[in-house]
Each structure stands twice: as C-alpha cells, then as structure tokens.
C-alpha cells in the first residue's frame, strides 16, 4: 500500500517561463486526496490494464497530460525531466553503444549533449543554428524543428550495465542495475536489446522528438553510435490521471492509476533513488526498464470479446474491473480469472510493488508477412529493478493469459542519473567525478 503524503509540485515540473512566456498548467499545486491511495500504481503490468485508484478522480481536475501546447519543460532540477513529467504524446527513444575507450572524449560528449539538450528542450536550435552560418560548413542544427514550439520536449539520459565495463567504472555500478533474467516467452532480438546508454526524447510533436535524437546522434558520431531506436505514439499511461485513460493497441484502457507526477510521496517511495540506496552518485536518479512488446494484433482481433475481457480482467467499453461499474472503481481481484492480466499485475498480488510507467504504442509498418509490426514500447521507472520490474515480470511471464497475444522482443535496462542542477552541471557528472 502506498502512503500518499502532502503533494507539492515537483521542482522539475516548474515550467520554463523564459522561453514561451507561459506557465505549464501542471504547477498549479493541485492536491489529490490525502487519504491513503490504493497502492496499485499502474504497476508493473506489461500491458498495464489498470485497476482503479481512489485518488484518480480527485486528480482529474489537473487538466490532462497535454499541458500547455508548445510550452517548455525545465531541463534543470533535482531529478531529470521526462520521468515524473506529465507524459507527452510522442516518443523517440534511442540506445547507443560507446565507440571510444577515451574517457575524456566520452565526458566531453556528455557535456556537449547536455548543452544541446538544454537548448533543444527550451525550443532553441543546437549550437549556431540551422542557417546563417558558414556556407562551406554543414549547419550545427539540422533544422527540421525550426519554427516549432518546444512542445514540452524532455530529454532523459540513462546508463546501461555494459557502460560500467568501460572507463574504469566497474566499482560504480549500482547493485540495483541488474541484468534482467531471461523470462519465459522472451524472444529478444539482439539488435533491439541492450545499449551502453540511452536517451529518451518525449514531446507533443513527433518532429521535435525525432529532431532531438537525430542531433544528439550526430554530435555523438565517433564517440557513440546508435544501437537501436524506437518511435512511439499514443502514450499508454499517464502521470497526470485523466478523466479519459489512454488505451493501448489492444483497445483496452491503460494506466488508470499510474503514479502521478505530483505524488511526491509515492515518487520518493517507488521511483527516486534515495540516499543510502546504493552509490551516492545515483541519489535522485531512477532505474529504467525498456521492453519492446510485440502484439499479435491479428489473432487478438479474432479473439471473442469475452476472451479479450477475461484476459485483461476488465470490460472493454468502460474499462471497469470485473464486476465493477466504472474504470476508477477499486477492483475485486478474486472476481477475475486467476490468469487475468490485471489480477496478476496488481500490487496486491505482488506485495505492493509499484512502478511508474511511461509506455507508448508503436507501429513499425508490417513485418513482411503482412502482419502489423506493432505493440507496446514499455518504459518503467523504479527505485530498484530487483524490487520493481523483475518480480512483476516473473509473475506475468509465468501465468499471464495475455502471453498468448504478446511477445517481448527487445529489452534494456538503464541507471538514470539525477537531474542536471544548473547551467554549469552536465549529464552524468555525479558518475564521472569523484566528489560525490
């Protein structure tokens, strides 16, 4: 069960008023109900049909996830933006491999990336911009985001386990950054798995998100190389509980009670790495699990409505749990089939385990057999992977009725360091400098 404490706006959610001259409407200090929330934090479930939570309705007045269109999210803060930040509409996620053994060169890249990220999240072009410079040189910025708003772009960096094999970092690897075990049913494609580091770009405009990754990749050539990347749309979970919960590509509502960006207590308890949790450099950070979950769309669409609803444990129209009337009504787990997705994923079935999800739907065309290459790009943040994703996925992989219709085909884990404090700070400073 999660304790909900006094809610104050997270520092990172303070809008950057310098850029657009407008304030993000998530900072209004809305307080959800202070009564104990039902501890189901939209946790864990790979596809996350969500059970109802008591505070959701109270939070619905925050106005949804879309925020002020075009506004900028502050890049600086105690935590990186892009985790508790209200989920944007679009994703471009990229995993990189290191291509240098020169530690100084890698640190230089992290500083260059930070500078570029600081500008792009403020709605500004990289470096000297996309035009007006030397005619003989390619412009610093690629230019496709010119004239577009910041679109609430957030850029979030993470470091994979393999990075700690480089640069003499072996003794700095956090114990909580575990290599995931092989789960039953996994069919992982090496070319969509792993990575020394990652950048998650979320924005309300796909062009803004793609522009950001493209420019970071370009700056990184020679030092890092893109290993794989994933585009996402149609957020499948929300960190500002909406009246209308987003649906996944199976047509089911998702993320009804994910952890909200304003729920300081649950964020501290389940998402942010606390002092003493492990190496000091991770304090204020989080751990990210990314899974590319392919859906067998065509066979799912041929499943009867009854089967579909049984698989999830909720109805398709309203999204209410079995035997309940409304999507936000607290679920009665025992009314569901033993292998129902919601039942297995629910915190009450998992000793209260809760993670913060930011997953997106993806569709990468068709697969050569005419089948839609589509599914969920699952992103989950947690304080410790060993206590978050691993036990949840173990439970799901073993029994979940949904497994007939999904397959995990890509996988990666990352240590997401704390936020960039100010204009002199940079991504990964706490890892690469000994002062912490």
């Amino acid at each position: 069960m999660a304790e909900n404490t006094e809610n104050t706006a997270n520092p990172q959610n303070t809008a950057n008023t310098a850029n657009q001259g407008r304030t993000d409407d998530r900072t209004d200090g809305v307080r959800p109900s202070r009564r104990a929330l039902i501890g189901w934090g939209g946790a864990g479930l790979a596809l996350g049909a969500a059970a109802a939570g008591g505070a959701a309705a109270a939070l619905a007045s925050t106005g949804g996830d879309s925020g002020a269109a075009g506004s900028a999210v502050d890049f600086h803060g105690a935590h990186q933006a892009g985790i508790a930040t209200a989920v944007q509409d679009r994703l471009h996620f990229a995993a990189f491999d290191v291509r240098t053994d020169d530690r100084a060169a890698f640190v230089r890249l992290l500083k260059e990336w930070t500078a570029a990220a600081r500008r792009m999240t403020a709605g500004l072009p990289v470096g000297d911009g996309a035009h007006g410079g030397l005619a003989e040189a390619p412009p610093d910025d690629t230019g496709e985001a010119l004239g577009l708003h910041a679109s609430r772009l957030t850029l979030t960096i993470g470091f994979g386990p393999s990075l700690f094999e480089e640069f003499g970092l072996r003794d700095r690897r956090p114990a909580a950054l575990v290599d995931l075990p092989r789960f039953p049913g996994d069919n992982l494609d090496a070319s969509r798995t792993g990575g020394d580091l990652c950048v998650q770009a979320c924005a309300d405009d796909p062009q803004v998100a793609v522009h950001a990754i493209r420019n970071l990749a370009r700056i990184g050539f020679g030092t890092v190389a893109v290993r794989w990347s994933q585009l996402g749309f149609g957020k499948t979970s929300s960190t500002t509980p909406d009246a209308q919960t987003p649906r996944n590509l199976m047509g089911f509502k998702d993320g009804t009670r994910n952890i909200a960006g304003t729920e300081t207590g649950r964020l501290e308890k389940f998402v942010w790495v606390g002092e003493g949790d492990g190496p000091g450099w991770m304090t204020g950070g989080s751990y990210l699990v990314a899974r590319r979950i392919r859906m067998n769309i065509e066979t799912w669409d041929r499943a009867s409505l009854q089967e579909q609803e049984d698989v999830f444990g909720r109805d398709k129209g309203e999204g209410a749990a079995v035997g309940k009337a409304k999507e936000h009504d607290p679920p009665f787990l025992k009314a569901m089939k033993p292998d129902a997705h919601v039942r297995l994923a629910h915190p009450d079935s998992n000793h209260g385990i809760t993670i913060l999800r930011r997953g997106y739907s993806f569709t990468d065309g068709t697969d050569g057999l005419g089948r839609l290459d589509a599914g969920l790009f699952f992103l989950a943040y947690q304080r410790d992977i060993r206590e978050g994703f691993v036990p949840l996925q173990r439970a799901l992989a073993a029994k979940d009725a949904l497994n007939e219709y999904i397959q995990h085909v890509g996988s990666a884990v990352f240590a997401v360091p704390p936020g960039v404090r100010d204009a002199d700070d940079w991504w990964g400073r706490t890892l690469f400098t000994k002062e912490t």
Binding site: R99, A137, F221, G222, A225
Partner: protein, 383 residues
C-alpha cells in the same frame, strides 16, 4: 556511382570558356603583344618572355628535342588553361588561349609524362583572378597530380581486365575486376564531375535512365559473377570501358578543383562508402565492396592530408580528430584483409557477403565517425 556533384561540375564548362580560341595551327600573327616563343627540348623549356598582357596569348612552340612533347599553360593549381599534346620532334605548333590576369606556368612535358619542365608566366592587366593562399594552390596542384597518377595507373589495370574478357577467360577477368577500379574509386568525385563518363563506366542496373544502355564495370560484373559467361557483347563492353576510361584520363587535368571541392570530395567519397559500399549494393554480384571501400577511404585521406597543413592552422582539434578517425577506420579495414585463395578476386579483402550484419554495423559506425568531422574540413580550409 552517383549523380554529378555541384562542387566539381563547373570544371568542363570553365575550361572550355578559357580555351575557346585554342588549337588553331599556324595562325598568322606577328610577334608582339601576347606572343611567347617556346623552345621545348628534352630537358628544358625556354620561353621568350615571362610576362604578357591579359587577353589572347599565343605560344609559338618549337620542339627541338628527340621525343614528342606536350606543352601546357597552367593555373597555379595546375589546372590546364590550354594544352597541345603530341608535338613531334622537330615540329612546330602555335597554341592560342584567352587568359585572364594572374600567375601561371608554362609546362613542357617531354615524352608527355610527368610534371614536365616549368616556366613562370605572369599575365598582367585588369580582371585579375582572385589570389589564393599559395599553400592551398600547392595542395590543389598536388591533388591534381594524384588524380592524374590514379587515372594513368588505371589504364593498364583496366586493359588487363578487358584483355581477359576479350580472351574469354572468366577467372582471369574476375581477378582483374576489383584492381581495375581502384584508381577510379580513389578519385571518383573528379571522374563524376565530367558528367558523361560516370554513366558509361560505373552505372549500376538500378541507376539506368530510361532507354540508357547498360555499359561499364557493373554490366560486366553481372556477366562474370551472375551469368558466368562472356559473349560478344561483353567483349565490346570491355573495349568500350577502356576507351571511356582513356577519355577520363585525358580530361582529369582540366577538372576544376578548389580547396573546398577537395574537402567536399573527400567527404563525398565517405558518402559513397556510407550509401553504397557498407550496404553491399555497389558490387552486388562480385562482393568486392571492401576493395572499393578501401580505395574511397584512401582517396579521401589523400585529399585530407594535402589540406591538413592549412586546416590544422585553423582548427587543430578537427585535424586531430580526423587523424584519429582515419587511423581507426584504416585499422578496422585491415582486419578484413584476406589472402585466402577463395577471395582471390577480392583484391586482398574479404568477400563482402561474408561480412556479417553486425560487422557491417561496425564499419558503418566507423564511417560515420569519420564522415561527420570530415564534413567540417571545407570550413576549416576556407576560414
């Protein structure tokens, strides 16, 4: 092969304009303004004056040597303003050219080989050509010389290939294919600048325009590796390939090359690798892509090395990075060397169909790592 690039494309047109009045033999014109007596011998090249006014310049050439010679008027970067080849021993020739004010050289090339014997020529008057850093002129001249060497060296190599084809010797033809392409691949942006040669020699099946007959290396590549046969048509193609490449060899000296186009040409060579070689599209029948790959990189490195003294002064960090990335790519390519008998036709490299997807990714990453800083070389040169 790719579409003609703007950076080189002005070549032929500019040269043509400058040489519009050349080649008129024994044009009767009294000695005086703009007339230079040139005495070309086996080891010397004497000129009657080192300074003439801008406009029509006439060379009255006498070959007093024992071998046929070639006389040229050259820009400071060794681009040819005008030339006459094959002036026999004991014969005379009058060469006329329209020349703007600036610094030039007259070159006599006994035996029509090498750099020849040089004399300075100053052309005075208005309409002066903008002066350029002599160091850059030196770089361009050296690159032009390199391009000429590559073209010269290609001819015997392509003749070996063509002879094997005309002899109907499939194995010998396969083994001679990749080596015949090296000089071309090293200097491809220059070859492509002429517009008409590349489509005849280096077009792939998917690059054909409607109605265009498929000729050149890749048509033969398909015949040798896929169809595994040499017929009358292939023999004609081989002969034509030699003819077309001799045309290229003759014209290399007239290509418009600037420090910027050299730098961009180096980058374009890496682009060739990134789009055609890394994917295995270029040599899809023979899988000799790594041989071409290496030649592209060598050509880029040559252009870079020549520009480096100037670039290093303007942007030392950039040249340090380029040195590092060229070395890294070289080292990576070395790991693909092969002396296996099975790879005999690969010019010393592994057959590209034996290079795994993961290895191709590694090669692609190394090319990106080099090409990105290389795209900044032109700016460092003109700074």
């Amino acid at each position: 092969m790719r579409a003609v690039r703007a950076s080189f494309v002005t070549a032929a047109a500019t040269a043509a304009a400058l040489t519009a009045v050349t080649g008129c033999t024994e044009k009767s014109k009294a000695d005086g303004d703009g007339v230079i007596q040139v005495t070309a011998a086996d080891t010397k090249c004497e000129t009657s004056t080192t300074s003439v006014p801008a406009g029509q310049v006439t060379l009255k050439i006498a070959n007093t040597g024992s071998r046929a010679t070639e006389v040229e008027i050259l820009f400071p970067d060794d681009r040819i303003v005008s030339e006459k080849e094959n002036i026999g021993p004991g014969t005379k020739y009058t060469l006329t050219a329209e020349v703007k004010a600036g610094s030039y050289e007259i070159a006599c090339r006994p035996g029509m080989k090498g750099l020849g014997v040089r004399q300075k020529l100053t052309v005075t008057g208005g309409g002066k050509v903008a002066a350029r850093d002599p160091e850059l002129d030196k770089a361009v001249a050296a690159y032009r010389e390199y391009a000429q060497e590559q073209a010269d060296a290609t001819i015997p190599a392509v003749e070996t290939f063509a002879n094997a084809v005309t002899a109907g010797d499939l194995e010998a033809a396969k083994n001679a294919f990749a080596p015949s392409r090296v000089g071309w691949e090293r200097t491809e942006p220059i070859a492509e600048s002429f517009g008409d040669i590349d489509p005849k020699t280096d077009t792939r099946a998917d690059g054909l325009e409607k109605g265009q007959k498929w000729t050149g290396w890749h048509a033969l590549e398909k015949a040798l590796w896929q169809d595994k046969k040499i017929g009358a048509e292939q023999k004609t193609l081989a002969t034509d390939l030699v003819t077309d490449l001799k045309d290229w060899q003759r014209r290399v000296g007239k290509a418009e090359i600037t420090p910027t186009s050299m730098a961009n040409g180096a980058k374009e060579l890496l682009d060739e690798v990134a789009t055609g070689k890394v994917t295995g599209e270029e040599d899809r029948y023979s899988h000799t892509d790594l041989s071409d790959f290496r030649a592209n990189v060598e050509g880029a490195q040559k252009a870079y090395e020549l520009l480096k003294p100037v670039a290093a002064k303007n942007d030392a960090a950039l040249t340090a990075e380029l040195d590092k990335q060229f070395a890294a790519l070289d080292a990576l390519l070395d790991t693909y060397r092969s002396d296996s008998p099975a790879d005999k036709a690969q010019n010393g490299y592994r057959s590209y169909d034996k290079v795994t997807k993961e290895q191709r990714k590694g090669l692609s990453d190394a090319v990106n790592a080099l090409a990105e800083p290389l795209s900044k070389l032109a700016a460092a040169v003109v700074k």
